[in-house]
Subunit: 440 residues, 2 copies
Amino acid sequence: MNHKIALLGCGTVGSGVYKLIRDWGDSLAQRTGQCFEPVSIAIKSLDEPLSVDVPRSILTTDAIAAARHPDTSIVIELMGGVDFPFQVVMAAIEAGKHVVTANKALLAHKGPELFAAARKKGVCIGFEASCMGGVPIIGPLRLGLIANRIDALFGIVNGTCNYILSEMTLKKRSYQQALADAQKLGFAEANPALDVSGMDSAHKLAILSSLAFGIQVDLGQISVEGIDTLKLSDINAAAELGYVVKLLAIGQRDADGFSLRVHPAFIPKDHPLANVTGPFNAMSLYGHAVGHVFFYGRGAGQMPTGSAVVSDLVDVALGNAQRSFQNLEIWPDQHAVTALKPIDNIESRYYVRLMMYDRPGALASVTRILGEHKISLSAVVQHEIPEESTDKTVVPVVIMTHRAAEGNVKAALVEAERTAVVKGKPVRIRVVEQYAEPKS
Amino acid sequence: MNHKIALLGCGTVGSGVYKLIRDWGDSLAQRTGQCFEPVSIAIKSLDEPLSVDVPRSILTTDAIAAARHPDTSIVIELMGGVDFPFQVVMAAIEAGKHVVTANKALLAHKGPELFAAARKKGVCIGFEASCMGGVPIIGPLRLGLIANRIDALFGIVNGTCNYILSEMTLKKRSYQQALADAQKLGFAEANPALDVSGMDSAHKLAILSSLAFGIQVDLGQISVEGIDTLKLSDINAAAELGYVVKLLAIGQRDADGFSLRVHPAFIPKDHPLANVTGPFNAMSLYGHAVGHVFFYGRGAGQMPTGSAVVSDLVDVALGNAQRSFQNLEIWPDQHAVTALKPIDNIESRYYVRLMMYDRPGALASVTRILGEHKISLSAVVQHEIPEESTDKTVVPVVIMTHRAAEGNVKAALVEAERTAVVKGKPVRIRVVEQYAEPKS
């Protein structure tokens, strides 16, 4: 069967989709019985340089007209951004087109509205490509793990951040050096804010959590910290203590509610996520029946993400995506917004580094403050003043805590910062231990 | 919608499926709109002790009658074995029932025949549970990675063997000790032959390769070596050299044909598969678009495998499994049997251990034989005669080779064994390097 498609956006991923359909189309037709024919490609300007040869006759700058094109049955949205893609996807849905998108920002901000509109119109939205690039993760959440109550997920879902952290860890580069390398190699955007702030990870966490937990997530309630303030010295300290620093997207079903957060974390170096380096992505999921399941692969890039888009095309072309979409009660628009557990209530172990003046009783006054906030310590390490240090009056003191509530740790460190023995703002990084699988 | 099901076999996995449907059924109904009602459960004898409470009224010893039960729409085959399940599944297909099975032996031996019969009758066969237990792997091969030419797969697909090898590696247990432990803990059968011979892995390799490569596999052409002859000393030698020994199922698309094989292998200790320990399973897949994708989780057990069976039930209940089955040209019965590349033509690096008499020129005579068979050496290690050795006349010599054809290595070692300087049969274990992802 032949399916006429509109490709909205022809950047990195759009070019990949076009190439896969062009070069792999015959094989795909043989294996699936489905053919895909791009009948319009919407770009910003007809002068835009494209990394793939496409017929000029199907290029347009009118994405909304392309989305509504009467010949088209499937619209692929790969433009990026939120507001304009929202208009375009809504136009496609209203015109009765199925939509395939890789746009996590769009889905994280406007998913429920789009899903509801699609359901009303009897069309579906495929978004396998929105999270973890070429790694099948939406499919397994939608079907393969459907027999499970998912209890927790821990993911490395942003390749840019993981590349930067890997460079800092393995090559002892500073954050700025590693970012510059990543930009040179195309692993980071010229403006890396969306990635390094943790916001892109939060978008993906919102999408994955809504499917995994059957909740509607208010993006604003996710606690988000990025990697842009991380210091090489803390990454080195992690290694000394047997940990690796990763930016994690975490969703947990606790007895008192769901907690969703994105932040850098110390993870034990024998954790499967610790060995995920470079631009790769990975996800640990814990289901009540299946236990620990782990997925790993390329989370971005032309061909991997293109691969996920094309798998959605096949799913729609077979008619299966529509059935899943109409029958499964797992999409965010079918649930009310769930209030998330406030971050201050979340308990964790912590790595804390304070720059302390080398005075008698200094350490005692800080540990007293921690004790008053019910934070007990598992280790304290004070090295000599480093030779390369420019300020010989202060020395780094590293403290590993036992489990403590975030709110208490924050309050204690604010108080510590106000004392005369601590210089500057203390550094605090959560420690994420191996997740204890619940017994089923 | 309510679906009446027949459960054939109520052992470990059957009980898990029953429990999931019983305890998780409401939640499943809410999330999928589908209800599953077991209307018959076939067991070998009505006196068989069951690990789950089921109504006596639906128990039967007549599996064929249960498979044909007019009320039933889906038959779940979890009996194990080949010949009788084949009859039963054929009876179910002929009676127009969809079939869900976890039986890899059945599919590896009789898959094409069963698939052809099902296709003719307009029913489908779901087998997500046949490989890697709860880890979604059939689903991703069927859909998520459909846009890829899969070039290679490397899997740890037998939890029993992986548990035994992990115990040998991490706790320095002998094969016999580790097997006994595994039996005590329920990770190995009283008769472990199917697992430790590598045959169970070969069954799964046949199924996964047929989907991944679009070929029909003749089980008899897969080269299979088990773990039952592995010595602790070789596992220790691997660790010294920076490797871990794993039983791998390997499928590769080479320029001159497909090679499929199961054998113990040295893998570098930073390979993702090297860190898969205990009863866990894992699979590295390489697709031309997606690159390296890695899946990990529990490959067996009541609830993980039950989880996979139930996901197939939902897929059938939604009507999606049928569409995939009827429309996708990826099932083995749609292809002629593919002649596999003879194992003697496969090139690999090798670990070789010879017990050699400590005589002048001994090593030279062996290395000369290897050279004559075009095998070049990357390392030779000869330790002192170990103190605990009972035969002080021989010393273990470890040789790491560069890439060489299997046939040449075999021939050289047969010749070496015939010399007067080598005692007993030389040990030879293939080295599997990181797979170089082809540039797409």
